[in-house]
Symmetry: C2
Subunit: 716 residues, 2 copies
Amino acid sequence: MSLARPAVLAAGLALACVSALPAPARADEGMWMPSQLPQLAEAMRSAGYAGDPAKLADLTAAPLNAVVRAGGGTGAFVSADGLVLTNHHVAFGVIQYNSTPERNLIDDGYVAADRAAELPANPDFRVLVTVGFDRVTDEVLAGTRGRKGRDYQQAVEAASKRIVSECEREAGIRCSVATMYAGTDFYRIRQLELRDLRLVYAPPRAIGNYGDEIDNFMWPRHTGDFTILRAYVGKDGKPAAYSPDNVPYNPPSHLQVSATGPQAGDFAMLAGYPGITYRHRTAAEFARQVEWTLPARVDVFDALIGVIEQAGRGDATARTLYASQLQSLKNNRKRAAGELEGLRRSDAVRLRAEDEAAMLAKASRSDARDIKALAGVLERDNAVRERELLLGLAASQSQLLRSALTLERLRIEAARPDAQRESGYQARDLALIEGQLRQVQRRYHPDVEKALLRELLGRYQQLPDAQRVPEFDTAFGRTPEALEQALQQLYAGTTLGDEQARLAAFAAAREGQALPQDPLLALAAQLVPAQVRLEHARKASEGEQLRLRPAYMHALAAWRQAQGRALYPDANSTLRVSYGKLEALQARDAVTYAPVTTVAGIVEKHTGEVPFDAPQPLLDAIAAGDFGHTADPQLGTQTVDFLTNLDTTGGNSGSPVLNARGELIGLNFDSNWEAVSASWWFDPSYKRAIHVDMRYMRWLMEKVYPAPHVLQEMGL
Amino acid sequence: MSLARPAVLAAGLALACVSALPAPARADEGMWMPSQLPQLAEAMRSAGYAGDPAKLADLTAAPLNAVVRAGGGTGAFVSADGLVLTNHHVAFGVIQYNSTPERNLIDDGYVAADRAAELPANPDFRVLVTVGFDRVTDEVLAGTRGRKGRDYQQAVEAASKRIVSECEREAGIRCSVATMYAGTDFYRIRQLELRDLRLVYAPPRAIGNYGDEIDNFMWPRHTGDFTILRAYVGKDGKPAAYSPDNVPYNPPSHLQVSATGPQAGDFAMLAGYPGITYRHRTAAEFARQVEWTLPARVDVFDALIGVIEQAGRGDATARTLYASQLQSLKNNRKRAAGELEGLRRSDAVRLRAEDEAAMLAKASRSDARDIKALAGVLERDNAVRERELLLGLAASQSQLLRSALTLERLRIEAARPDAQRESGYQARDLALIEGQLRQVQRRYHPDVEKALLRELLGRYQQLPDAQRVPEFDTAFGRTPEALEQALQQLYAGTTLGDEQARLAAFAAAREGQALPQDPLLALAAQLVPAQVRLEHARKASEGEQLRLRPAYMHALAAWRQAQGRALYPDANSTLRVSYGKLEALQARDAVTYAPVTTVAGIVEKHTGEVPFDAPQPLLDAIAAGDFGHTADPQLGTQTVDFLTNLDTTGGNSGSPVLNARGELIGLNFDSNWEAVSASWWFDPSYKRAIHVDMRYMRWLMEKVYPAPHVLQEMGL
């Protein structure tokens, strides 16, 4: 399982040329924009789809408008009264937020007996319903003529902000601008922002996360990775923060769970919000990824995991507070290692280089000139990559330091007119910032934070001078002793560990007023100007990439067309559709994995110890063999998970999987280990996606941890 | 891979009743005595055997007389000039013995350019050729009438020794008495003892032990676990110790490697010396194995592995000296864990209890009485099991302590007439003892030995008083401090670390004379009387088991006959034959393993780091794809290993695998992880054996590390 990394303003190619391209040779490759599907109609039908592909083109109409962003992943409406089905790991924060030592919903699961018993999610959990998707390329690029570097980036950003700002005048709507084909095309996305989500049904951890890190990215799998939430809105039907007076949201459409299940070879399709892919990156970027980025990530994640586990060994409180961060780090570590292994196995660096060389041989002179300039930009980025990694993690993996940096930056930005503020610090972002500041309490322990920073900044101290930042050296010194002294003083003196203190600082910062006296806030005042300076350098590079990558995409599209292949844009957290089938995996020499698992595997894996501690009611129900209509007629037993060749990446977690008739048969929750490198390189021999079989979910809800009223609401 | 544990005088049932039994329902179960094969002729033929099963009945005639005991495993003659094919791990000591830092045969492998370049094995390495197998039941049991306990055991032992002593009057012959069906029947086995073995061909470690502990017991496998030795004899054709004047031994027959290879479903048979199985043990013994023995073994092996690895971390010498012991401990640890897992998965304790209950319901009154008495004997053994485990390991896992105990015991025994001495200390055993004393030098480091004893005796100190032995308490005290002081004094003062000192003590001990002054020998003088006392108690139990188990076997044979099943005796290091076929393995839910692996898997597993560091010449040869006539015609590539459902256990390492025409197609070297519990419980769903495909060996010897002269000698 893997959550999406945040989408970035990435790179593009005029959509016009897509419609001219033939369908792809393989049905199982491609994260298609819904608008591309009518052109793929013939391929989809020959793959087995029984519906009309043209009806899938509009992502604001049924069935695609039932597919939503949920937390860091995807979800889908499954009832007229706003039930949202997503993964257990996508909703894990919601379950954790409602868990206490006395009422441990993580371990025990939860079944809301009625609507009054549905439990409010953490305040920053969101469900976003896409209600608009419009091309705004001309408007975005209008101000970029003759510009370069940071100017180009600022022109794109200013236009995007203006578009977003206008768009968000409507209450309850969040907007964004996404680029397709890496700067070639831009779309305005309007999303209804549902803020009151409640927990309806969660299986116990030992079902929802059976196998945990050991089985993560593994097939065969036996995990019931699903959770059901319900979206609420104000009595006026508009999005609202949690209130006991809110009412269930009535979505414009919802998916219907299929009465039957899939078998090997059956057609399957999936819709969701894949976070980010790099399939169309340059050969040099492929080489950097394999030779530096992934090894470096594995190394630093290992170190951070070690720090948290060490801290948790004797301290149950620290263990609980950092459970979520630890899980995320382990997940990212495993993913990086798997990407590395997969890219090497597929020989992706060499193949991409050969593909690019063939492309360049046919590229126009002007494209070739821009592509060469792009290579220079990327090369310059390489010179500071170690620093970027470490300082980025120092902010993202801390709670109080991150809070202080956010508050100081907010104070600075708040002094400007809203439209000129940096993204993430505008009026529209305040509620999210406040939510994050509030929940620090649930995720912070001073000893762990100091240990994490000791590790990261200690590594930073070892970097050569060319990568050093004076403000950081002043703040933390250049020796381990100086760093230690700085950390001890900062965390002994700060009051930001107190929620009221953070909220008081937030109240000042949002008005652009002076922040309270506090050592961490004073530190932030030192560091933020340096951060801004580094950010400007990054934006200059980003601007050049936005300006230059369209030439690369243009040359690539032409080369693909010459090859008879269609081109889909790299994933960017916008709604995409993939179609294919249930397919076995020949993972290794002499090893074949069937595409459907059964409850027998739960018993085989059961050891009684975490993470293979199947709950006794589940084991009893399996032993009893009372599967009834949820059993697979051919296998004669209860299925658990299934495997398809669908094209997915992080962010597709929780994506609904539909059969040829558009009925819900599965819930995507992971990729196989052999396929995690697919974010860069698609290898049809190994790329698979792993889904919870809806029959397993139904059986659990019927026979093991019953929730007949929820099933009834889902029309089952 | 796994070496045989030493055979013990185990348990039997009158052969007469076997001939009356029908062939087994399944062709793949049973370690048959060759004499049983004529009765299985119909079953063997319907399984696909093309030869005459009656010709397999005589293990002293071709082809079975080509199958020999080699080291702790099995081997086979493969040329008229005494080439012996066995496993790399069976001959590992031979390779290690000839390795130096300057000439690392372990890492580099070895190809003897000619006979002069063949390297002498370690002096205690033996190849035994069975030349006689005769029933001596009446003679062995004649003196047991009216006896019980230790008297019974002594009567059996005295008769066995007398038989062995008479038998060994012939020079170059080693004899033993083996019981079949747990005390029911006894056989005299005469074996030619070849003492001059030389290394002819060994692949590099990264082929012969590719995957090492990670792949140990695993399928799919990609290991070339083979080595070729040559047996030499004196110019008179008689067995002799190494001498440059010796000449190659000409065996009475040898096996011919097949020109073609096997495919899934093909008939296969295997002959070898399986060490010990417990298939016919009581339900209470099954319960003890699962509930105590295996968990306790895993625990203590983990501790010893940790001790050796810790010691080797900063000390390359210690690492080399203990490489073999560490490998053996890891192997035993993994095996114990796998047995435990498998017995639990097969629910063997419950099934054996049900089977036994059904058997008892039909047992005669006199059998039932003996079986009840047997249960009492086994229960009494349970009371001292922790002590037995720990003190046994303290002797077997040490070098100097073991040497001292051996020398002291030899001194005591040597004072008696040879025939009255304890087995292992008779004149016939002296060469073996001397060989062990000599090679201490290659396997001993004082710090590691002290650390191992600190661990084992430290655990012993925690046992309750009922399991304590006064002499051990006197020697090592009852506190960790006292133990530490004792160990430091013993090892600071002893001269047994010096080979000459050991051999001087040996010279005295073998004559029954006083041993030199030495703290470890003084300690041994204290401890050996206690060891003898404990040994007497064990022999009393052993005697009762020898007396009582035949009733159990009798009742079991009757019950099996009622079920329509034949009964084979539990393995006891005597020559057995198993037949079956190449068969895939459905190891787990949704997982199927094909029965043949290919070189593609070597490349997939290759990481460049031990143990997956395939040598560059191998990788180059795979990339070149020049497989020629050794390629599998259906797979179109080079095979590596294959999988059968043959019935094997430790000791079968190196067993030749033959096709339907009796040609050599494989070399057994391991079981799959799912089947290691088969030493107790045969589960046809999971029991498989893993073999080197002879086509892989041939390809390596033709194209990768060429040895055309050796191939030619093998008729290839």
